[in-house]
Structures are given as C-alpha cells and as structure tokens.
Symmetry: C2
Subunit: 324 residues, 2 copies
Amino acid sequence: VNVTILGAGSWGRTVALLLIKRGHRVTLWGRANAALAAAPYDQTHDLNAALQCDVLAIALPVQQIHSVLVAATFPKSAPYVLSLAKGIEQERLLRVSQICTRDIPGFSSGRFAALSGPTLADEVARGLPATAVVASESDETAKLIQHEFSGPALRLYTSRDLTGVELAGALKNVIALAAGICAGLKLGQNVLGALVTRGLTEMTRLGEALGGQSATFSGLAGLGDLVTTCTSSMSRNRTVGERIAGGEGLDDILQSLGEVAEGVWTATAALEIAKQHSLEMPITAEVCRVLYESKDPTAAIHDLMTRSLKSETDAYVSSTLSRG
Amino acid sequence: VNVTILGAGSWGRTVALLLIKRGHRVTLWGRANAALAAAPYDQTHDLNAALQCDVLAIALPVQQIHSVLVAATFPKSAPYVLSLAKGIEQERLLRVSQICTRDIPGFSSGRFAALSGPTLADEVARGLPATAVVASESDETAKLIQHEFSGPALRLYTSRDLTGVELAGALKNVIALAAGICAGLKLGQNVLGALVTRGLTEMTRLGEALGGQSATFSGLAGLGDLVTTCTSSMSRNRTVGERIAGGEGLDDILQSLGEVAEGVWTATAALEIAKQHSLEMPITAEVCRVLYESKDPTAAIHDLMTRSLKSETDAYVSSTLSRG
C-alpha cells in the first residue's frame, strides 16, 4: 500500500523504514532535515500531493496537527488515518481522533486508528523486539493496519477501545515527567514503583471517566508504555523532568531538546479535563505546578508522596493511614 | 514494644534500625555476622529466649522458616508474627502465613501480618522514602503493626487481603528473574514494558485463583514492588537473571550472591500451584526452564515473546494476532 507519514521526527522516520522493509511505498512529509538526505523513502513538501495515499500516518507533535490538517485539501476519497502521536490538544482538549474528525471534512471515524504501546523509536530502529496496540472503532480498520504495519520486530494487537488507547498514550507522558523529576532528585526505585502504581491509577481513573476501559490501561498501551517511558533515558518526557529537577528552566530545556516532549502540553490539558469531570489527578497537578508555577520539585514530590499515598488507601479494603 | 527479628540479612537489619529509631527494643536472632558487631540492637543465638517478645518479625529465607519454627519452643502466649519474607515454600507449597499456622502450635492466623511492597533495603536504610502494605486477616493486627512500624520514611497501609499481598510479594521475584534475563540480553526497555505488563497479568491470575484480590496486584504490593524489583540493580533476583543471561551457572551465581534470591525457589513452587489450578504461567515456566533445564536464555525470551504476546490478546476485546 501507499503510506504517507506526516512528520519527520524519530518515530515517523523509524516507522517509515519499517514499512519500506515490509515492501510498502512510503512518502514522508516534514520539515527539511539533513538526516533524511540519504533515506530510502520519497520526500515531499507538497502537503496536498502527500495526501494522495492509502494510509496517512500522523507523526506530528499533537499541538501542530490542527494547523496542518486545516491547511490541507483532502482528496474526495480520504485515506485511512493512523495516529502515531501521543498527546491531547491543549486548546480544544481533543484526542487525535477527535482532531481528525473535526478538521478533515467528511472524515468518518471508522477510518481512523491509533498505534500506541512501548515503542521507543531508537530501540525499534535497532531491530529490538517491541509490541503495541492498534485501536479503532472499526475492526476492519484495526486489522488492516495490523496486517500492513506488523512484522517480526513489531508485533501489533488490535483493540476496539480507541478512547482508552489514545488516552493511555497521552497520559503516560505526564507520569513520565514526574518519574524524571524523581530520577533527577535521586529518590531511588522504591519511589519509582510507588509513582508508577499511583500514576496508572490516576490515568485509569480519567480514562474510565471518558469511556475508556480499565483493561486497556492494564495492557501494553497503558502499563507497558508507562513502565518503558518511566525507565528509559531515551524518553524525552522523562528527560525533561530530570533536567527540571536539576534546576534548568523549562524553556531552555525545550529549546535544546530537539524533539517535542508531549507531556509538557498534555499535562495542562489532562488537568483541565479532570476538572470538568471533578476528578483528582494529584501527580498531574504537581507536574503542572513544577512546570508552570515554578514550584520547587522537591516540595512537589514531598507533597505528592504525602497526598498521593493517602489516596492509595482507596485501593485497599478497610485501609487507614497512621501518623500521616 | 519488644520486637525480635529472625534473620540478619539486609532487610532484617534495616527494619531493626528503623524500629530502634522509633523507640522500640529490638533483638536480632541470626547467624554470626561481622557487620552486626557494632549494631545498636541486642543480638542473641538463643532462639527460645528470642521468642519472648511482643512481635516476632520473620526475615529469614522462606525455605528456612519451617526448620527454624519447628526447632523452637514458643511461649504459652505466642507473639504477633510479622512476615518480612517474600516467597513460597517449595516443599509444601505454602505461603509464610500458612507455614506459621502449621508450624507454631496453637497459633491463630489473626495474630499474623505480612509487610510487602517496594522496599529495597539499601534505599530504606539510606532514608529514601518508601511505601508498603501491611496485610492481615485481622484489622487490629494490621493496625498494630502499621502503628508500631511506620515512620516518615516508610509509610504503611493496611489491607485485609493477606493472600494477595503474600502472593504478590512472592511472585514478583520470579518476574524479576525474567526481567534480569532481558536486561542481560540487552533487549531494551520496550521489552521490559511488555514483560512487566504480562508478568502482572500472570501474577494476578494465580493470585485470584487462590483467593487474592486483583486490586492488591494493581497496588503497591503488586505493581509497585514489581516495577521496583524489575528495574533496580540492587534486586538480587534481577541480578541472578542478568548473570544467567551472561552465561554463568546457577550454582555459581547463588554461591557468590551472599543473600538468597527467593525467586529461584518460588518459581517452581508457583508453577506447581498453577498446574494444580490448570492455569498457564508462561513467564514463570520459561524462567524454570532456564534455571533448571539449562534452556538457552535467548530461546526462552524468544518463545516467551511469541507465546506470551499471543495471550496478550486476552486483554483486549476482539483482538487478533496476525502473522504470528
């Protein structure tokens, strides 16, 4: 099949190479990039020409998708759209599937799928084994993507829980920011274990409120991706947290990062959605305070351990917390 | 209160120091150990005298508990018993609570509690924050232990799910062996995320079959401890897996390890229990093959990825796996 990938970041380029190995024809649309010069895929800067494809894979920063889509003229028979992005649009509080439905004229959500899971680009590019979930409201669409995109090094499973898979991929980046802060403060692995546990609870709570399934959050696209992102030095979101804890300013970090750390934008969006649903997201709230209100990272983690661990009692029958 | 700790390993010694800081009187019973010479707690080699206490904390290797208990003469008014050990007795397939009920004459299970969670001894000893669960069939017993053992650096939550908490602590050591094998083979963090996800599913399945609650496995004593143990170089079980992957023999590793890696013994016990309940535990089964049947670690992980990831489909609605 003909696949166009919007976005020339590390994940977009990695997927492009995988697809070429699978025998597909791949066109990459993105900013000029020296790293692409010798690449084996077609490159174009003509957005409308790029849309003449069977599958349009979106590997753009989530905050940029809207402006790209509204600048495009889609062909009458729109392609399947596959999201490779993990985040929530800050302005309209939309998942990628919702952005597409609103911004592509006449687009049917049944032609949309999201690919999400523990897939650090660097490892996938090196041929290390990885797994992920392809979610769509349409079984046929999910199976089509699964069939065309999976290979021996990237095993794909289908899911109907599009909402859960998209939210899991977005929200884990926020928890990874907190994991990075803990790593930067050298708090150790005991705290990491507690953070991942409470983080998954917090992600699942919001996901279920928005119609996602808890099994999705316990699966590869939830827990799996969360563990990978919170433990890898290759994770940009974790790196941002680590550098914040080291005393650097957010703007300086983002400018030197090279690629986008989606959690920085998704954190405020998630908190806003949680407020609309009267849900508490203590980790996300502390991450926002550190990022946008200059709260001291040590104080944030202290408040988080105290606060978040009080709510751990919810998870146990007849639990109580002594001596605060 | 007067606390006796059976076992002078790193966790027993760490808990002893915490209790002394809390103002308790602590007696440590264990093998002679040069590291203990200057320690601020009483030491004894007289087992029966050591049992004259309010709380008996068991920090022995699980496979040794039976022989110590049956050699002891308990006072008429038996102390509370707190398990600090994480494993399953290989011979009788018993959890620590079951060992105590069988081996201490007239012992009431209501006086038993288990402390489990992400508590790497080295980090707790350094005063880094940690959290854990105290589980007992009796609320009063759990609250007593919580009250006497918790402090600012070790926050304790109570649970009634003794079965779940004991099994979670035991089974995560087996998954940590597999995580160590993956680390030794340099398979990366994408595989780790998948392994933790499938590992928790496998642990939960056995735990629920034996009467534990799935919420326990999603909590600190389950997921929390699993993440910590699978990611820390201080974990003995993870270290054993890493060294096995590096080509060392199990006997050599165990002899040079200094302390016990409980997962090595718990793996076969868990597999035996799973068989009795007709449950599949693919990760545990592959760990046993590597440890006891000299299976090549690379082949084991390959079979595991293929096999375990086929079963990931269980977790998703209407999932299918294409091209194996």
